[in-house]
Symmetry: none
Subunit: 242 residues, 2 copies
Protein backbone atom coordinates (compact mmCIF):
# COMPACT_ATOMS: atom_id res chain seq x y z
CA UNK A 1 0.00 0.00 0.00
CA UNK A 2 1.31 3.38 -0.93
CA UNK A 3 1.40 5.80 1.96
CA UNK A 4 1.65 8.66 -0.48
CA UNK A 5 -1.61 9.96 -1.79
CA UNK A 6 -2.06 11.18 -5.33
CA UNK A 7 -0.88 14.62 -6.35
CA UNK A 8 -3.81 16.81 -7.38
CA UNK A 9 -3.01 18.71 -10.59
CA UNK A 10 -5.30 21.56 -11.59
CA UNK A 11 -4.76 22.35 -15.25
CA UNK A 12 -5.41 26.02 -16.08
CA UNK A 13 -7.77 26.63 -13.14
CA UNK A 14 -9.82 29.79 -13.51
CA UNK A 15 -11.01 30.95 -10.08
CA UNK A 16 -8.84 31.36 -6.99
CA UNK A 17 -11.86 30.45 -4.92
CA UNK A 18 -12.02 27.04 -6.55
CA UNK A 19 -8.32 26.48 -5.90
CA UNK A 20 -8.99 27.21 -2.24
CA UNK A 21 -11.97 24.88 -2.13
CA UNK A 22 -9.87 22.19 -3.78
CA UNK A 23 -7.22 22.57 -1.07
CA UNK A 24 -9.88 22.19 1.59
CA UNK A 25 -11.38 19.12 -0.08
CA UNK A 26 -7.92 17.56 -0.38
CA UNK A 27 -6.89 18.10 3.22
CA UNK A 28 -10.19 16.73 4.48
CA UNK A 29 -8.98 13.38 3.25
CA UNK A 30 -5.31 13.77 3.95
CA UNK A 31 -4.03 14.88 0.54
CA UNK A 32 -1.52 17.71 0.67
CA UNK A 33 0.27 17.99 -2.69
CA UNK A 34 -1.31 20.47 -5.06
CA UNK A 35 0.13 21.44 -8.44
CA UNK A 36 -1.18 24.21 -10.65
CA UNK A 37 -0.61 24.36 -14.39
CA UNK A 38 -0.79 27.92 -15.73
CA UNK A 39 -3.47 29.23 -13.34
CA UNK A 40 -5.44 31.87 -15.24
CA UNK A 41 -5.05 34.63 -12.65
CA UNK A 42 -1.48 33.84 -11.60
CA UNK A 43 -0.31 32.57 -8.24
CA UNK A 44 -0.63 33.25 -5.36
CA UNK A 45 -4.27 34.24 -5.73
CA UNK A 46 -5.87 36.27 -2.92
CA UNK A 47 -9.22 34.51 -3.37
CA UNK A 48 -7.78 31.08 -2.60
CA UNK A 49 -6.97 31.50 1.09
CA UNK A 50 -10.44 32.40 2.40
CA UNK A 51 -12.03 29.55 0.42
CA UNK A 52 -9.56 27.04 1.85
CA UNK A 53 -11.12 27.38 5.33
CA UNK A 54 -7.85 26.67 7.08
CA UNK A 55 -6.21 24.32 4.59
CA UNK A 56 -3.45 26.88 4.18
CA UNK A 57 -0.65 24.34 4.23
CA UNK A 58 -1.88 22.94 0.93
CA UNK A 59 -1.89 26.36 -0.72
CA UNK A 60 1.46 27.39 0.73
CA UNK A 61 3.19 24.31 -0.62
CA UNK A 62 1.39 24.33 -3.99
CA UNK A 63 3.74 24.29 -6.98
CA UNK A 64 3.14 26.09 -10.25
CA UNK A 65 4.12 24.72 -13.67
CA UNK A 66 3.88 26.14 -17.17
CA UNK A 67 2.76 22.91 -18.79
CA UNK A 68 0.99 19.70 -17.90
CA UNK A 69 4.03 17.75 -19.04
CA UNK A 70 6.23 19.49 -16.48
CA UNK A 71 3.66 19.08 -13.72
CA UNK A 72 3.61 15.30 -14.06
CA UNK A 73 7.22 14.73 -15.08
CA UNK A 74 7.99 12.78 -11.88
CA UNK A 75 4.72 10.85 -11.81
CA UNK A 76 4.44 7.17 -12.62
CA UNK A 77 0.67 6.80 -12.74
CA UNK A 78 -1.54 9.55 -14.09
CA UNK A 79 -5.33 9.72 -14.20
CA UNK A 80 -7.41 12.30 -16.05
CA UNK A 81 -10.66 13.24 -14.35
CA UNK A 82 -13.29 13.95 -16.95
CA UNK A 83 -16.92 13.31 -17.73
CA UNK A 84 -16.89 14.30 -21.37
CA UNK A 85 -16.97 11.69 -24.06
CA UNK A 86 -13.56 11.37 -25.66
CA UNK A 87 -12.31 10.23 -28.98
CA UNK A 88 -9.26 8.85 -27.28
CA UNK A 89 -9.31 5.16 -26.74
CA UNK A 90 -8.16 4.83 -23.20
CA UNK A 91 -9.31 2.80 -20.21
CA UNK A 92 -12.11 4.48 -18.25
CA UNK A 93 -12.37 3.52 -14.60
CA UNK A 94 -14.54 4.53 -11.69
CA UNK A 95 -13.15 6.07 -8.51
CA UNK A 96 -12.76 2.77 -6.59
CA UNK A 97 -10.61 1.16 -9.30
CA UNK A 98 -8.48 4.30 -9.53
CA UNK A 99 -8.02 4.37 -5.78
CA UNK A 100 -6.99 0.73 -5.67
CA UNK A 101 -4.45 1.21 -8.44
CA UNK A 102 -2.97 4.25 -6.73
CA UNK A 103 -2.77 2.51 -3.39
CA UNK A 104 -1.20 -0.60 -4.93
CA UNK A 105 1.25 1.22 -7.17
CA UNK A 106 4.86 2.09 -6.62
CA UNK A 107 6.10 5.61 -7.34
CA UNK A 108 4.05 8.78 -7.50
CA UNK A 109 0.56 9.18 -8.84
CA UNK A 110 -1.36 12.21 -10.02
CA UNK A 111 -4.92 13.10 -10.94
CA UNK A 112 -5.49 15.81 -13.55
CA UNK A 113 -8.49 18.14 -13.38
CA UNK A 114 -9.30 20.63 -16.13
CA UNK A 115 -10.49 24.22 -16.11
CA UNK A 116 -13.87 24.78 -14.45
CA UNK A 117 -15.74 25.76 -17.58
CA UNK A 118 -14.40 23.40 -20.19
CA UNK A 119 -12.64 20.52 -18.49
CA UNK A 120 -9.43 18.93 -19.72
CA UNK A 121 -8.35 19.33 -23.31
CA UNK A 122 -7.71 16.17 -25.26
CA UNK A 123 -3.97 16.95 -25.29
CA UNK A 124 -3.97 16.94 -21.49
CA UNK A 125 -5.96 13.74 -21.27
CA UNK A 126 -3.44 12.08 -23.56
CA UNK A 127 -0.83 12.36 -20.78
CA UNK A 128 -2.85 10.02 -18.62
CA UNK A 129 -2.80 6.25 -18.58
CA UNK A 130 -6.52 6.16 -17.81
CA UNK A 131 -9.59 8.34 -17.46
CA UNK A 132 -11.38 8.37 -14.12
CA UNK A 133 -15.07 9.21 -14.24
CA UNK A 134 -17.43 9.56 -11.33
CA UNK A 135 -20.61 7.70 -12.34
CA UNK A 136 -23.11 10.49 -12.15
CA UNK A 137 -26.81 10.99 -12.84
CA UNK A 138 -26.94 10.82 -16.64
CA UNK A 139 -29.77 13.39 -16.62
CA UNK A 140 -27.94 15.87 -14.40
CA UNK A 141 -24.19 15.85 -14.38
CA UNK A 142 -23.02 19.02 -12.74
CA UNK A 143 -20.04 18.29 -10.52
CA UNK A 144 -17.96 21.32 -9.75
CA UNK A 145 -14.20 21.15 -9.40
CA UNK A 146 -13.99 20.85 -5.61
CA UNK A 147 -16.75 18.23 -5.59
CA UNK A 148 -14.93 16.11 -8.12
CA UNK A 149 -11.76 16.46 -6.06
CA UNK A 150 -13.44 15.57 -2.78
CA UNK A 151 -15.08 12.44 -4.18
CA UNK A 152 -11.79 11.12 -5.55
CA UNK A 153 -9.90 12.13 -2.39
CA UNK A 154 -12.53 10.38 -0.28
CA UNK A 155 -12.27 7.28 -2.41
CA UNK A 156 -8.50 7.24 -2.05
CA UNK A 157 -8.74 7.67 1.72
CA UNK A 158 -10.82 4.51 1.90
CA UNK A 159 -7.92 2.46 0.59
CA UNK A 160 -5.71 3.68 3.37
CA UNK A 161 -7.71 1.76 5.93
CA UNK A 162 -8.54 -1.26 3.83
CA UNK A 163 -5.57 -1.95 1.61
CA UNK A 164 -3.18 -4.69 2.58
CA UNK A 165 0.45 -4.63 1.58
CA UNK A 166 1.06 -6.84 -1.43
CA UNK A 167 3.66 -9.57 -1.34
CA UNK A 168 5.70 -8.33 -4.27
CA UNK A 169 6.02 -4.78 -5.48
CA UNK A 170 5.53 -4.56 -9.24
CA UNK A 171 8.23 -2.74 -11.15
CA UNK A 172 7.26 0.93 -11.04
CA UNK A 173 6.04 2.50 -14.25
CA UNK A 174 8.62 4.92 -15.61
CA UNK A 175 8.29 8.50 -14.43
CA UNK A 176 6.58 10.63 -17.00
CA UNK A 177 9.75 12.48 -17.93
CA UNK A 178 11.27 9.16 -19.05
CA UNK A 179 8.26 8.43 -21.16
CA UNK A 180 8.42 11.91 -22.66
CA UNK A 181 11.96 11.15 -23.72
CA UNK A 182 10.76 8.11 -25.63
CA UNK A 183 7.84 9.97 -27.18
CA UNK A 184 10.06 12.88 -28.18
CA UNK A 185 12.63 10.59 -29.75
CA UNK A 186 10.01 8.75 -31.77
CA UNK A 187 8.40 12.02 -32.77
CA UNK A 188 11.69 13.39 -34.08
CA UNK A 189 12.39 10.19 -35.99
CA UNK A 190 8.95 10.22 -37.59
CA UNK A 191 9.18 13.89 -38.38
CA UNK A 192 12.44 13.21 -40.19
CA UNK A 193 10.81 10.66 -42.49
CA UNK A 194 7.79 12.82 -43.26
CA UNK A 195 5.35 10.67 -41.26
CA UNK A 196 3.18 13.53 -40.05
CA UNK A 197 1.36 14.18 -43.26
CA UNK A 198 -0.90 15.96 -44.03
CA UNK A 199 0.01 18.71 -41.53
CA UNK A 200 -3.58 19.28 -40.43
CA UNK A 201 -3.74 15.69 -39.17
CA UNK A 202 -0.43 15.93 -37.29
CA UNK A 203 -1.91 16.83 -33.89
CA UNK A 204 -4.44 14.02 -34.01
CA UNK A 205 -1.76 11.56 -35.09
CA UNK A 206 0.50 12.69 -32.24
CA UNK A 207 -2.35 12.27 -29.74
CA UNK A 208 -2.98 8.76 -31.01
CA UNK A 209 0.69 7.82 -30.66
CA UNK A 210 0.87 9.37 -27.21
CA UNK A 211 -2.17 7.38 -26.13
CA UNK A 212 -0.69 4.16 -27.46
CA UNK A 213 2.64 4.71 -25.72
CA UNK A 214 1.15 5.92 -22.44
CA UNK A 215 -1.10 2.91 -22.12
CA UNK A 216 1.32 0.17 -21.07
CA UNK A 217 2.90 1.76 -18.01
CA UNK A 218 6.34 0.52 -19.10
CA UNK A 219 9.12 0.53 -16.54
CA UNK A 220 12.26 2.59 -16.98
CA UNK A 221 14.07 -0.49 -18.18
CA UNK A 222 11.45 -1.12 -20.83
CA UNK A 223 11.44 2.50 -21.97
CA UNK A 224 15.20 2.36 -22.38
CA UNK A 225 14.94 -0.82 -24.44
CA UNK A 226 12.44 0.83 -26.78
CA UNK A 227 14.64 3.88 -27.15
CA UNK A 228 17.39 1.52 -28.25
CA UNK A 229 15.03 0.04 -30.82
CA UNK A 230 14.19 3.44 -32.28
CA UNK A 231 17.86 4.38 -32.28
CA UNK A 232 18.69 1.22 -34.20
CA UNK A 233 15.95 1.78 -36.76
CA UNK A 234 16.96 5.38 -37.39
CA UNK A 235 20.73 4.95 -37.37
CA UNK A 236 22.13 5.98 -40.70
CA UNK A 237 23.67 5.00 -42.92
CA UNK A 238 22.13 1.57 -42.79
CA UNK A 239 24.32 -1.40 -43.38
CA UNK A 240 23.99 -1.97 -47.10
CA UNK A 241 22.69 -5.26 -48.43
CA UNK A 242 21.09 -6.32 -45.14
CA UNK B 1 -32.34 -3.16 -3.54
CA UNK B 2 -34.47 -0.13 -2.88
CA UNK B 3 -35.16 2.02 -5.89
CA UNK B 4 -35.99 4.94 -3.64
CA UNK B 5 -33.06 6.94 -2.42
CA UNK B 6 -32.88 8.50 1.01
CA UNK B 7 -34.70 11.74 1.73
CA UNK B 8 -32.26 14.52 2.59
CA UNK B 9 -33.45 16.49 5.63
CA UNK B 10 -31.76 19.81 6.37
CA UNK B 11 -32.49 20.78 9.96
CA UNK B 12 -32.57 24.57 10.48
CA UNK B 13 -30.33 25.37 7.49
CA UNK B 14 -28.93 28.90 7.60
CA UNK B 15 -27.95 29.97 4.07
CA UNK B 16 -30.11 29.69 0.99
CA UNK B 17 -26.94 29.19 -1.00
CA UNK B 18 -26.17 26.01 0.91
CA UNK B 19 -29.68 24.71 0.32
CA UNK B 20 -29.11 25.25 -3.40
CA UNK B 21 -25.74 23.52 -3.32
CA UNK B 22 -27.30 20.63 -1.45
CA UNK B 23 -29.95 20.27 -4.16
CA UNK B 24 -27.24 20.17 -6.80
CA UNK B 25 -25.21 17.59 -4.89
CA UNK B 26 -28.30 15.43 -4.44
CA UNK B 27 -29.39 15.46 -8.06
CA UNK B 28 -25.87 14.65 -9.23
CA UNK B 29 -26.40 11.23 -7.70
CA UNK B 30 -30.06 10.84 -8.43
CA UNK B 31 -31.58 12.01 -5.13
CA UNK B 32 -34.59 14.30 -5.49
CA UNK B 33 -36.42 14.51 -2.18
CA UNK B 34 -35.39 17.44 -0.02
CA UNK B 35 -37.04 18.39 3.26
CA UNK B 36 -36.32 21.53 5.22
CA UNK B 37 -36.95 21.87 8.95
CA UNK B 38 -37.48 25.50 9.96
CA UNK B 39 -35.07 27.11 7.50
CA UNK B 40 -33.70 30.25 9.16
CA UNK B 41 -34.55 32.63 6.34
CA UNK B 42 -37.88 31.11 5.35
CA UNK B 43 -38.76 29.36 2.12
CA UNK B 44 -38.48 29.83 -0.81
CA UNK B 45 -35.12 31.53 -0.51
CA UNK B 46 -33.89 33.58 -3.51
CA UNK B 47 -30.27 32.52 -2.91
CA UNK B 48 -31.03 28.84 -3.38
CA UNK B 49 -31.86 28.79 -7.08
CA UNK B 50 -28.61 30.19 -8.48
CA UNK B 51 -26.55 27.88 -6.28
CA UNK B 52 -28.48 24.84 -7.48
CA UNK B 53 -26.98 25.18 -10.98
CA UNK B 54 -30.02 23.70 -12.64
CA UNK B 55 -31.21 21.30 -9.96
CA UNK B 56 -34.42 23.32 -9.75
CA UNK B 57 -36.67 20.31 -9.61
CA UNK B 58 -35.25 19.45 -6.18
CA UNK B 59 -35.90 22.94 -4.83
CA UNK B 60 -39.36 23.18 -6.37
CA UNK B 61 -40.50 19.97 -4.76
CA UNK B 62 -38.80 20.60 -1.41
CA UNK B 63 -41.13 20.36 1.57
CA UNK B 64 -40.93 22.51 4.67
CA UNK B 65 -41.65 21.25 8.19
CA UNK B 66 -41.74 22.97 11.55
CA UNK B 67 -40.02 20.17 13.46
CA UNK B 68 -37.66 17.29 12.79
CA UNK B 69 -40.27 14.88 14.12
CA UNK B 70 -42.74 15.93 11.45
CA UNK B 71 -40.12 15.83 8.72
CA UNK B 72 -39.32 12.18 9.33
CA UNK B 73 -42.78 11.00 10.37
CA UNK B 74 -43.11 8.69 7.35
CA UNK B 75 -39.53 7.38 7.41
CA UNK B 76 -38.54 3.90 8.47
CA UNK B 77 -34.79 4.30 8.68
CA UNK B 78 -33.16 7.53 9.81
CA UNK B 79 -29.48 8.43 9.92
CA UNK B 80 -27.99 11.50 11.56
CA UNK B 81 -24.94 12.91 9.79
CA UNK B 82 -22.52 14.34 12.30
CA UNK B 83 -18.86 14.45 13.08
CA UNK B 84 -19.13 15.64 16.68
CA UNK B 85 -18.70 13.27 19.54
CA UNK B 86 -22.03 12.47 21.13
CA UNK B 87 -23.14 11.42 24.53
CA UNK B 88 -25.86 9.34 22.96
CA UNK B 89 -25.36 5.62 22.89
CA UNK B 90 -26.11 4.85 19.29
CA UNK B 91 -24.45 2.92 16.51
CA UNK B 92 -21.97 4.93 14.46
CA UNK B 93 -21.44 3.74 10.89
CA UNK B 94 -19.45 4.89 7.88
CA UNK B 95 -21.05 5.88 4.57
CA UNK B 96 -20.81 2.42 2.94
CA UNK B 97 -22.65 0.65 5.78
CA UNK B 98 -25.31 3.35 5.73
CA UNK B 99 -25.73 3.03 1.98
CA UNK B 100 -26.06 -0.75 2.16
CA UNK B 101 -28.67 -0.54 4.89
CA UNK B 102 -30.69 2.04 2.94
CA UNK B 103 -30.51 0.01 -0.26
CA UNK B 104 -31.51 -3.19 1.54
CA UNK B 105 -34.27 -1.66 3.64
CA UNK B 106 -37.98 -1.55 3.00
CA UNK B 107 -39.88 1.71 3.37
CA UNK B 108 -38.44 5.22 3.32
CA UNK B 109 -35.11 6.33 4.64
CA UNK B 110 -33.81 9.76 5.57
CA UNK B 111 -30.50 11.39 6.43
CA UNK B 112 -30.50 14.37 8.79
CA UNK B 113 -28.00 17.21 8.44
CA UNK B 114 -27.72 20.03 10.98
CA UNK B 115 -27.24 23.79 10.66
CA UNK B 116 -24.00 24.83 8.96
CA UNK B 117 -22.41 26.41 12.00
CA UNK B 118 -23.28 24.05 14.81
CA UNK B 119 -24.44 20.75 13.34
CA UNK B 120 -27.31 18.68 14.69
CA UNK B 121 -28.52 19.16 18.23
CA UNK B 122 -28.58 16.09 20.41
CA UNK B 123 -32.41 16.15 20.37
CA UNK B 124 -32.35 15.85 16.58
CA UNK B 125 -29.80 13.08 16.60
CA UNK B 126 -32.00 11.17 18.99
CA UNK B 127 -34.57 10.71 16.21
CA UNK B 128 -32.09 8.63 14.26
CA UNK B 129 -31.43 4.95 14.53
CA UNK B 130 -27.75 5.46 13.83
CA UNK B 131 -25.13 8.14 13.32
CA UNK B 132 -23.31 8.25 9.99
CA UNK B 133 -19.86 9.79 10.04
CA UNK B 134 -17.53 10.34 7.10
CA UNK B 135 -14.07 9.23 8.22
CA UNK B 136 -12.15 12.43 7.79
CA UNK B 137 -8.62 13.70 8.39
CA UNK B 138 -8.49 13.89 12.21
CA UNK B 139 -6.20 16.91 11.93
CA UNK B 140 -8.44 18.79 9.50
CA UNK B 141 -12.12 18.04 9.55
CA UNK B 142 -13.87 20.80 7.67
CA UNK B 143 -16.65 19.36 5.55
CA UNK B 144 -19.28 21.85 4.56
CA UNK B 145 -22.93 20.93 4.26
CA UNK B 146 -23.02 20.28 0.50
CA UNK B 147 -19.81 18.25 0.68
CA UNK B 148 -21.22 16.03 3.41
CA UNK B 149 -24.38 15.59 1.33
CA UNK B 150 -22.51 14.77 -1.86
CA UNK B 151 -20.33 12.13 -0.22
CA UNK B 152 -23.33 10.34 1.26
CA UNK B 153 -25.34 10.70 -1.96
CA UNK B 154 -22.39 9.32 -3.93
CA UNK B 155 -22.09 6.41 -1.56
CA UNK B 156 -25.77 5.63 -1.92
CA UNK B 157 -25.54 5.82 -5.71
CA UNK B 158 -22.91 3.12 -5.66
CA UNK B 159 -25.51 0.68 -4.47
CA UNK B 160 -27.68 1.52 -7.50
CA UNK B 161 -27.11 0.80 -11.14
CA UNK B 162 -26.74 4.48 -11.91
CA UNK B 163 -23.36 4.11 -13.44
CA UNK B 164 -23.30 5.17 -17.05
CA UNK B 165 -20.16 4.86 -19.09
CA UNK B 166 -19.43 8.34 -20.39
CA UNK B 167 -16.53 7.45 -22.60
CA UNK B 168 -16.06 4.87 -25.27
CA UNK B 169 -15.76 1.30 -24.25
CA UNK B 170 -12.12 0.32 -24.41
CA UNK B 171 -11.37 -1.60 -27.56
CA UNK B 172 -10.69 -5.28 -27.26
CA UNK B 173 -7.02 -6.22 -27.24
CA UNK B 174 -5.85 -7.36 -30.65
CA UNK B 175 -5.97 -11.05 -31.33
CA UNK B 176 -2.60 -12.64 -30.83
CA UNK B 177 -2.07 -13.19 -34.54
CA UNK B 178 -2.27 -9.42 -35.06
CA UNK B 179 0.29 -8.87 -32.36
CA UNK B 180 2.54 -11.50 -33.91
CA UNK B 181 2.39 -9.54 -37.15
CA UNK B 182 3.68 -6.47 -35.35
CA UNK B 183 6.39 -8.41 -33.54
CA UNK B 184 7.47 -10.12 -36.75
CA UNK B 185 7.63 -6.86 -38.65
CA UNK B 186 9.72 -5.20 -35.94
CA UNK B 187 11.95 -8.24 -35.72
CA UNK B 188 12.65 -8.19 -39.46
CA UNK B 189 13.36 -4.47 -39.37
CA UNK B 190 15.77 -4.86 -36.47
CA UNK B 191 17.43 -7.85 -38.07
CA UNK B 192 18.03 -5.74 -41.18
CA UNK B 193 19.91 -3.09 -39.21
CA UNK B 194 22.00 -5.57 -37.26
CA UNK B 195 20.25 -4.97 -33.95
CA UNK B 196 20.48 -8.54 -32.67
CA UNK B 197 24.10 -8.54 -31.81
CA UNK B 198 25.91 -10.48 -30.45
CA UNK B 199 24.06 -13.56 -31.77
CA UNK B 200 24.18 -15.39 -28.44
CA UNK B 201 22.14 -12.59 -26.86
CA UNK B 202 19.55 -12.54 -29.64
CA UNK B 203 17.05 -14.86 -27.97
CA UNK B 204 17.09 -12.93 -24.71
CA UNK B 205 16.71 -9.65 -26.55
CA UNK B 206 13.78 -11.00 -28.52
CA UNK B 207 12.13 -12.18 -25.30
CA UNK B 208 12.52 -8.74 -23.76
CA UNK B 209 10.94 -7.08 -26.78
CA UNK B 210 8.11 -9.57 -26.83
CA UNK B 211 7.41 -8.93 -23.15
CA UNK B 212 7.37 -5.18 -23.72
CA UNK B 213 5.03 -5.39 -26.70
CA UNK B 214 2.70 -7.92 -25.15
CA UNK B 215 2.20 -5.89 -22.00
CA UNK B 216 -0.13 -3.13 -23.24
CA UNK B 217 -2.94 -5.17 -24.70
CA UNK B 218 -3.14 -2.84 -27.71
CA UNK B 219 -6.23 -2.98 -29.88
CA UNK B 220 -6.11 -3.92 -33.55
CA UNK B 221 -6.28 -0.27 -34.47
CA UNK B 222 -3.33 0.50 -32.22
CA UNK B 223 -1.31 -2.40 -33.57
CA UNK B 224 -1.97 -1.14 -37.10
CA UNK B 225 -0.85 2.38 -36.13
CA UNK B 226 2.41 0.98 -34.75
CA UNK B 227 2.96 -1.07 -37.87
CA UNK B 228 2.62 2.15 -39.81
CA UNK B 229 5.24 3.73 -37.57
CA UNK B 230 7.71 0.93 -38.17
CA UNK B 231 6.98 1.02 -41.89
CA UNK B 232 7.68 4.76 -41.93
CA UNK B 233 10.93 4.38 -40.04
CA UNK B 234 12.19 1.60 -42.28
CA UNK B 235 11.02 2.92 -45.63
CA UNK B 236 13.93 3.32 -47.98
CA UNK B 237 15.28 5.31 -49.53
CA UNK B 238 14.76 7.97 -46.91
CA UNK B 239 14.03 11.45 -48.08
CA UNK B 240 17.47 12.97 -48.32
CA UNK B 241 18.40 15.96 -46.24
CA UNK B 242 15.55 15.47 -43.73
Amino acid sequence: MSSQGPIIVLVRPQLGQNIGKTARAMLNFGLTELRLVAPRDGWPNPDAGPAASGADIVLETAKVFATTAEAIADCNLVYASTVRRRDLVMPVVGPPKMAEAIAAGAGRSAILFGPERSGLETEDVAFASAIVTVPINPKFGSLNLAQAVILLAYEWSRTQVLAQPTAKEPEAPAAHAQLEGLIGQLDAALEAVGYFHPPERADATRNTLRTILTKPGWSNREVQALRGVIRALTASPRPSGR
